[in-house]
């Protein structure tokens, strides 16, 4: 019997590991190491690399039990995300269905027009809305606390409805036309066709957009930060990520802001898991 050479001397077996090595190194250096560092940082009060004090879970405890501004940011973020999705999803699906009709002319122009807002990005959209909403009116879009959320939502919807519409348009192409025709022949009305044929057809995209929209909403930062040039009137435009930024770079406590970041990760993971579970449950017969 011929003895097998050890693993690392066999070129054909070594090759895949060698090819993977750069990716693993990049992931390790730029993802896992900072992730580990931020986790350890969140257990410290810090000012630079050598001025730090280990506080265990105190940052988390303080954040959850005592930090009103953090909870205000959480409420603002959840309110924004919920309202954002409640309008974005139906509006973009409706637009996509309209543009999917055979009798609509100039579809490509409409598609481009609706999608083009997404191309400008959050910062530019915020600047545009600053110019629009900051005009001389008695409404006070940017100065009245009660209007801070609606103003941010208007800018957010303008930015993203066209983007979601493109996804729905692509999904609508996959809806089986025969199925739709069969349903119509069987006497199904418009609503029944939508509920029983179209919606199940676009469901994977819908779930994707809800999850991505939720993540987008929870990570909201630039849009309100530029629109209000800060946390807005009475902190009504303060989001979790804006608070994280402010804690790290305006107050200089990286440990505390790392704790905010990790709580955001937990919150976002929980919400995403719930969403996926909920939407899977709907799919069951």
């Amino acid at each position: 019997m011929i003895a097998q050479p050890p693993l690392w001397t066999r070129p054909q077996r070594r090759a895949p590991y060698l090819f993977l090595l750069p990716e693993i190194a990049v992931l390790g250096i730029f993802f896992f190491w900072p992730l580990w560092q931020s986790l350890t940082l969140s257990f410290h009060v810090t000012a630079g690399t050598h001025a730090r004090r280990f506080v265990g879970l105190d940052n988390y405890r303080f954040l959850i039990l005592h930090d009103r501004l953090f909870w205000l940011a959480v409420i603002n973020t959840i309110a924004y995300t919920s309202a954002f999705l409640l309008v974005q999803i139906p509006a973009s699906l409706g637009l996509a269905m309209l543009l999917n009709r055979r009798d609509v002319r100039g579809k490509s122009i409409f598609r481009f027009c609706f999608f083009s807002t997404y191309l400008v990005g959050q910062v530019f959209m915020a600047v545009i809305f600053f110019a629009l909403l900051g005009r001389e009116t008695n409404v006070g879009w940017l100065t009245r606390p009660a209007l801070a959320l609606p103003a941010t939502l208007l800018a957010g919807w303008s930015l993203s409805i066209g983007y979601a519409m493109i996804y729905f348009l692509a999904a609508l192409q996959t809806v089986d036309e025969n199925l739709r025709e069969a349903a119509v022949l069987d006497g199904a009305g418009t609503w029944a066709v939508f509920w029983n044929v179209i919606l199940p057809g676009v469901k994977p995209v819908l779930i994707f957009l809800v999850v991505v929209g939720t993540i987008w909403g929870f990570q909201l930062f630039e849009l309100p930060y530029v629109l209000f040039q800060g946390p807005g009137p009475n902190y009504r435009a303060l989001t979790i990520v804006m608070y994280l930024y402010s804690t790290a770079f305006e107050r200089g406590d990286l440990g505390y802001s790392a704790a905010i970041g990790w709580l955001l990760v937990l919150l976002l993971s929980g919400v995403s898991i719930l969403q996926l579970k909920f939407t899977s449950a709907l799919a069951e017969p």
Binding site: V45, T46, A47, G48, T49, H50, A51, R52, R53, V55, D58, N59, F62, H66, R68, L69, F130, G134, N138, L142, T143, P145, F228, Q229, G230, P231, P233, N234, Y235, S246, F249, E250, R251, G252, D253, L254, Y256
Partner: protein, 460 residues
């Protein structure tokens, strides 16, 4: 010629190699001996531009005196903060720090988070004493840039505060604003002013610009009463009875039936334009705001006047202070003595006065310069009023302002109390019982802030 992977890949590879070589062969610009970081374009201009009388620029003067070249870099304030804090957080990475750096008052608290021995800036007490500058600088301005008696920055300014008002509109309404000595009297005068203009077709004309949210103006009023909401030792003073009184009063300036103030959009030009358009008819004016006023509201030429702030009690200061910039030397600067010499020239020398005045007419913190003719002339924009003389008269009375790592947190807590106070005024249609309610909210906020300090302090 053939390439087995195809021509497009060959062309892309050649392009990548050529552009890579071009980048690698590019010579970096010659490094100056000293580097200054500033976030203000005006300051950079003052340092680098030749004087009007043909004299060389300040950095050229320094080059001739010390034989060292200087590069002045203007960096956006957020970027400057991020870079500096990153340098301080990772010493020993080989990156060269600036030799001099300007830091804004709103940012400085975070640099003071570390214990004194770990702060990334060089203590300047020795240099200040040795050069004799310590005695010349207004002591109240040094407090802002110090921790536990160790001075980390030299102030570039004093920023006393006055009130600028539309003299034409107040005169037309027959209201003499300057006769108001106290804030309640001031409020009465403003209500009288608003009634007049409401009767004459301007129901939305507000007598004053004040923010009903995160508010610097409320802090200024507290400072007038010698209340630093957080002192140098991180003691909290929000539960001072005068603080409750001030918050309750402020809430009634911005809300309810006795409201006299409105706010502008966020952003630099808006308050000045609102003053010019007659929507807001007076504003709190630190000296740096006069430059913006002339820039954004040139149509106000000759229509505005300035006066000291009203007070609450006889012992209060008729002024306060808003904003500030320090110049400091990073602890690991290569040649601290040369940095100090440059700092002296740019910040504390008589030579720099006219250059600084040319680009930003702000009062220097060195008392002996205040007698300079630059600060004695009447300003036609203010109807010939000698506004710098007014600023000088008030400068000696500005209260010390402390900034610590917890100042921003305390400001946020104060703002939240103020929001409650404004809501109270709106809900109750007035301020009855508001002071007691404010006292309760401020006591709660104080307890929370003490918790913050215990939790977040790195000082033993």
């Amino acid at each position: 010629m053939s390439f087995h992977l195809g021509k497009p890949i060959l062309i892309l590879t050649v392009l990548a190699v050529v552009s890579g070589l071009a980048v690698l062969s590019r010579r970096p610009p010659a490094a100056a001996d000293l580097t200054v970081w500033t976030f203000a374009d005006d300051n950079a201009q003052a340092y680098t531009q030749p004087a009007l009388d043909g004299e060389p620029s300040l950095i050229e003067t320094f080059r001739r005196q010390a034989g060292l070249s200087v590069s002045v870099q203007v960096i956006n304030q957020h970027a400057l903060d991020a870079r500096l804090i990153s340098l301080f957080m990772s010493p020993g990475t080989g990156r060269r720090p600036p030799d001099l750096v300007e830091i804004d008052l709103a940012s400085v608290g975070k640099y003071f988070r570390a214990p004194v021995s770990d702060i990334g800036l060089l203590p300047l007490n020795g240099f200040l004493e040795e050069s004799g500058e310590l005695k010349k600088i207004l002591p109240s301005r040094l407090a802002t840039w110090s921790k536990n008696g160790v001075i980390f920055g030299v102030p570039r300014d004093v920023h006393p505060i006055t009130l600028t008002y539309r003299a034409d509109l107040f005169d037309q309404a027959g209201v003499n604003l300057e006769a108001a000595r106290t804030w309640p009297e001031f409020q009465e005068k403003c209500l009288q002013f608003q009634r007049y203009w409401s009767d004459h077709g301007f129901p939305n004309r507000a007598a004053m610009e004040l923010v009903a949210g995160p508010s610097e103006e409320l802090l200024l009023m507290l400072l007038q009463r010698h209340i630093n909401i957080v002192d140098e030792q991180n003691h909290i003073y929000l539960n001072d009875p005068k603080a409750a009184q001030t918050v309750a009063f402020y809430a009634q300036l911005v809300a309810g039936p006795r409201r006299i103030a409105a706010q502008s959009l966020p952003g630099t030009p808006f308050p000045y334009r609102d003053l010019a358009d007659g929507k807001l008819c007076s504003m709190i004016t630190p000296d740096w705001r006069t430059g913006y006023l002339k820039q954004y509201a040139p149509d106000l030429w000759g229509k505005v006047r300035m006066c000291p702030l009203p007070v609450f009690d006889p012992g209060d200061a008729p002024t306060s202070t808003w904003g500030g910039t320090m110049m400091g030397i990073p602890r690991n600067a290569i040649n601290p003595r040369a940095s100090w010499k440059l700092l002296e020239l740019l910040c504390l020398s008589r030579q720099a006065l006219s250059q600084r005045f040319r680009y930003s007419p702000i009062l220097p913190p060195v008392r002996e310069f205040w007698s300079d003719p630059l600060y004695q002339t009447g300003d036609p924009f203010f109807g010939g009023q000698a506004i710098d003389r007014l600023y000088i008269r008030l400068a000696d009375r500005i209260p010390s302002r402390c900034v610590t790592p917890f100042s921003l947190t305390a400001q946020a807590a104060l703002t939240m109390v103020m929001n409650k106070a404004v809501a109270y005024v709106n809900d109750h249609g007035g301020g009855d019982g508001l002071e007691a309610a404010c006292a309760g909210w401020l006591a709660e906020a104080t307890a929370e802030l003490k918790h913050w300090v215990r939790q977040g302090s790195l000082d033993s």
